[in-house]
Symmetry: C2
Subunit: 527 residues, 2 copies
Amino acid sequence: MLVEIFDTTLRDGTQGEGVNLSVQDKLLIAKKLDEFGIDIIEGGWPGSNPKDEEFFKKAKELDLQHAKLCAFGSTARSVKDVESDYNLNTLINSETPIITIFGKTWKLHSQKGLGLTDAENEELIYKSVKYLKSHGRRVIFDAEHFFDGFKDDPEFALKMLEAAVKGGADTLVLCDTNGGALPEEVYEITKTVKEKFDVKIGIHTHNDSELAVANSLAAVRAGARHVQGTVNGLGERCGNANLCSIIPNLILKMNYETNQKSNLASLTSVSNYVYEIMNLHPNTRAAFTGKSAFAHKGGVHVSAVMKESRMYEHIEPELVGNKQRVLVSDLSGQSNVRYKAKEVGVDIGDNKELSKKIVNRIKSLEYNGYQFDGAEASFELLLRAETDEFSPFFKVLDSKVNVFYDEEGHSNAEAVLKIEVNGEIEHTASDGDGPVNALDKALRKALTRFYPEVADIKLVDYKVRVLDEKEGTAAKVRVMIESSDGKDAWGTVGVSTNIIEASFKALSDSINYKLFQYYKNKQFIEK
Amino acid sequence: MLVEIFDTTLRDGTQGEGVNLSVQDKLLIAKKLDEFGIDIIEGGWPGSNPKDEEFFKKAKELDLQHAKLCAFGSTARSVKDVESDYNLNTLINSETPIITIFGKTWKLHSQKGLGLTDAENEELIYKSVKYLKSHGRRVIFDAEHFFDGFKDDPEFALKMLEAAVKGGADTLVLCDTNGGALPEEVYEITKTVKEKFDVKIGIHTHNDSELAVANSLAAVRAGARHVQGTVNGLGERCGNANLCSIIPNLILKMNYETNQKSNLASLTSVSNYVYEIMNLHPNTRAAFTGKSAFAHKGGVHVSAVMKESRMYEHIEPELVGNKQRVLVSDLSGQSNVRYKAKEVGVDIGDNKELSKKIVNRIKSLEYNGYQFDGAEASFELLLRAETDEFSPFFKVLDSKVNVFYDEEGHSNAEAVLKIEVNGEIEHTASDGDGPVNALDKALRKALTRFYPEVADIKLVDYKVRVLDEKEGTAAKVRVMIESSDGKDAWGTVGVSTNIIEASFKALSDSINYKLFQYYKNKQFIEK
């Protein structure tokens, strides 16, 4: 049985706190959703802001392969003048094949919010849908607050759905707008609606009770065949139903079909892509797609998944494009370290003395604020230093960073650096956009004549996490850097109370790692 | 009907990635959970690490008012020698009134993980429970992987429960260890178990399918009267069932009783306290307790909640100790700004010109990376500057920060600052733990002779967020500072590509805000 997937990341998703998308961002996400196999992309509310109008103009050139675009809006402002309603006409002018409008199906809203009698609200819904239908579009009617409305007055709520169907609505979407419904209520009410109407029934839920996914699945079990949600569950307040959980649950657990099935292995990358474009920190603990979703820390779990992964994994992580990870921490012992070492290609063999020494070293660094998840390159250098395979490619003799304001009040940063490579000294300086950038530039400049390969390194991500935040500006900071040479990417870490020193440590590790890899491969080729 | 709440934040919670608690941290959290009315606190696995053993020793002096402590462990290692089993005896020696042990109820684990025949596993469970019971403790049997085990071989799974009951187990907890079960399965299977056994039935779920809360509630509907979970849903992989959602759902939506009912209004502060102790960034979108849980951004929503909050809020936020917020963003218009202005006590009256000017100024700052949620003091200064009520208390003529290594390789930071107050100049310098701390100290030093009140200001939180992270070390950073004078707390913000400049902006706002409040009140008193 096929379930239609309707994505509203670009509309309801942008109502989430901290979410802010440019038109270009929206176009990029739409393209990605189409590639993933999403059926309908709700792009925005063109009547409410110029950005969304622009989106629909530009979206026509997107050349979507599968997805259909949809514009969102409300019923007309006045029942007297539906055909010249600004909002409805903007929807029509967006030229999308599908239009969603929401109408009031909770008496409280209809009476108190809009000040309408029941008959007026009914007529408003009927006429608004009918007008849009007369332009030949597929019309989806979002029954706002349907579950609250039904619990309050089922007759009223159902009458409003009837008005939409009489107006020609193709799909009735039951909305738990406030996110307060329980799965058993959603199941029963959806079943009642399903039995009464012949059109396609859809579900739109919010996560205010941490039940949005369960409520969506309950509606599908009751007969809904259209599910609305957002990537990563972002949206107003606690967010919308998370499509990244609903889609794999439908396919892998409940045996439904969706058009993303053949692309399911790109689910994690779709999730990360949307976070990236939104410039939000990913929810590492997210089901299916989170970085921690298949990460094992407890000693019992680690030794079991090394035998057979389904012992502590509900699905194979590869099915959704994620992967198994083993964490190194004070809860874990030598078996975790051995697993990690093997992962980065370091053989510590059966040397118990060595692996114990490494575990202690890691625990002490972690105690001081280091973290090696996401800094596998620093971890590898640490292992290789302990096994005497690696020693740093350069030595820093002196470094100074000055930050000052020039006469026009612009802030400036300058770094002065003295390093030593094989007995030779290089003394150089650079300015930059801030102190860390100046230091980064000075370091590359100093190293280039010894190691021209450093020119290939690009910093692709730079993250700062303040530890012991209660210490205020005297707090320790952890800097995580991700670097790339166009082929590979690697992460490094540095910790200090001085943000510049922490950054410098992570930068140094990044360059040392690249040079280590480069010369190891070169040696290998030369042999 | 009373549901018993069992908290495993201190045990399963610490298996979450990035969670690391000292013994002292654990004691603080236990105290808080007791005050909140949690029935049972699972403190750790004393057999697995010395930290947890120490916790149970020290926890005896906690003087808990309501909660009972519980130690966690596994069945004995060998069926032959249960009474001298190290793990079981460590549990007994923890001297907790309650002991939880887990046993295998999925054949895969029993056979492949432990290499036992069905009869051996059965005997192991029976004997382990019996030995603990013989020491007069309440014994909770965690049926590990029960749902997977039941789906695989119901007869086997039920037989293992029988063994635990025969051994004297007081409570049977059905665990969805891998987090893969669906609510309808949990409901049916729990009902089957409930009908078969007379002891109390409990539920323990994980969030790998984003269904942990729904699964816990389904089990309660099927007759479970004991729910295990963690504060904020932290735990191994995607985490455990979130008690911060389960408790309000049980009380407010499903009419069950729990012993936290009279303290429900401290739910949000319990959630924040645990994040704080764990030094983790709170999940702002969390149901019930998240900072965004009752935050309205869409224009339609804002004007409706201003009329009647239940129009877009599923519960009153005060019931769980949270509060309604209105966000200022490019999705929002003048009504949001007016609401916010009123909130901070600034009257912009009906001046449309002014409120439009302010909206534009905010939009431009937000476009440049500013964010005013959590920086209400900066927002207030901005409003008061626009209404000509505020001008800065000092002017910075020159500032320099130097970071360098001394001869022993220790990093040093020094700030030199020249400021002007009412025509008088103060030129001073300070060192510090890193450049921002040096600048902070220099600024206070320079201002003290003009404004002795600055001595009261303490920085209580310092956060750095790298924006446009793809720009690497040349990225813009946003610094958010929280300050306190012992009575009030306030937040400020600064943005720049230069982290020192961004910090300095936030620091300056913090001091200006305090001085503004101080002199406004003083003026008021003098009048």
